[in-house]
Amino acid sequence: MALRLLFLGKLADLAGVGERVLDLSAPLGWDALLDRLEPDLASALGGAKVRVAQNADMVADKTALIAADGDEIAFLPPVSGG
């Protein structure tokens, strides 16, 4: 079982890559998901301005996320200005 994580914008710099696959043995809640990542990346993803999409649907409260097998979880920092 696996999860696809997408890091958009400057989060990709922090993750060192735009995309990661995470093996998992059971669905992951928000805290458990962050625990699988480096502390500084986890801290950035937890920031108030980073939004989350699960399979391209915006998640209203990311701390309530349950990420399951096959999900694509995208981490979206604020969009750039013009």
């Binding site: 914008g9 400057k10 999409a53 391209a56 920092p77 604020p78 969009v79 750039s80 200005g81 013009g82």
Partner: protein, 147 residues
């Protein structure tokens, strides 16, 4: 007539506007905005990343809002992705309407929302490397005009 596209390769505004105008023969006016990578200021390149499953539906929904709010005969929204060079067009928004204020306001509205809300992340390359572009205060002020 709605035409919304994400483009991964350079485009020529003129070759896009001409067929759009032809497709809206009943329009009394066509307003257009073309945004380019600003030359100068030490920027060597710009890169636009996006998240297709959100970016494209977001642009479609934005176009639908403009079409619902103003009386338009057509709306063309083109946005580049990927690496761009100074002087290259990034965005083109063109609106055709019977009365000019509809077209001008719709273009203004779509541009403000594309800049402040659409799912694009931009970084620019300067002599010392790549820098992500942050949101600007002015973008939010621009958006507030439409509430």
């Amino acid at each position: 007539m709605k035409d919304v596209r994400l483009l991964s390769a350079p485009f020529d505004p003129n070759t896009e506007i001409e067929p759009f105008a032809r497709a809206c023969p009943e329009a009394g006016g066509i307003a257009t905005f073309v945004g380019k990578v600003r030359p100068g200021g030490g920027v060597e390149a710009l890169e636009l990343s996006h998240y297709e499953p959100l970016t494209r539906p977001g642009m479609e929904a934005l176009a639908d809002r403009a079409l619902a709010r103003w009386e338009l005969m057509g709306l063309l929204v083109l946005h580049r992705t990927g690496p761009l060079h100074p002087g290259e067009p990034i965005v083109l928004v063109s609106a055709a309407s019977r009365h000019r204020r509809d077209a001008i306001e719709a273009v203004d509205f779509v541009m403000d929302h594309l800049k402040a809300e659409a799912w694009f992340w931009k970084r620019e390359k300067r002599a010392d490397g790549w820098h992500w572009i942050e949101p600007r205060e002015a973008d939010h002020a621009d958006l507030a005009r439409w509430k």
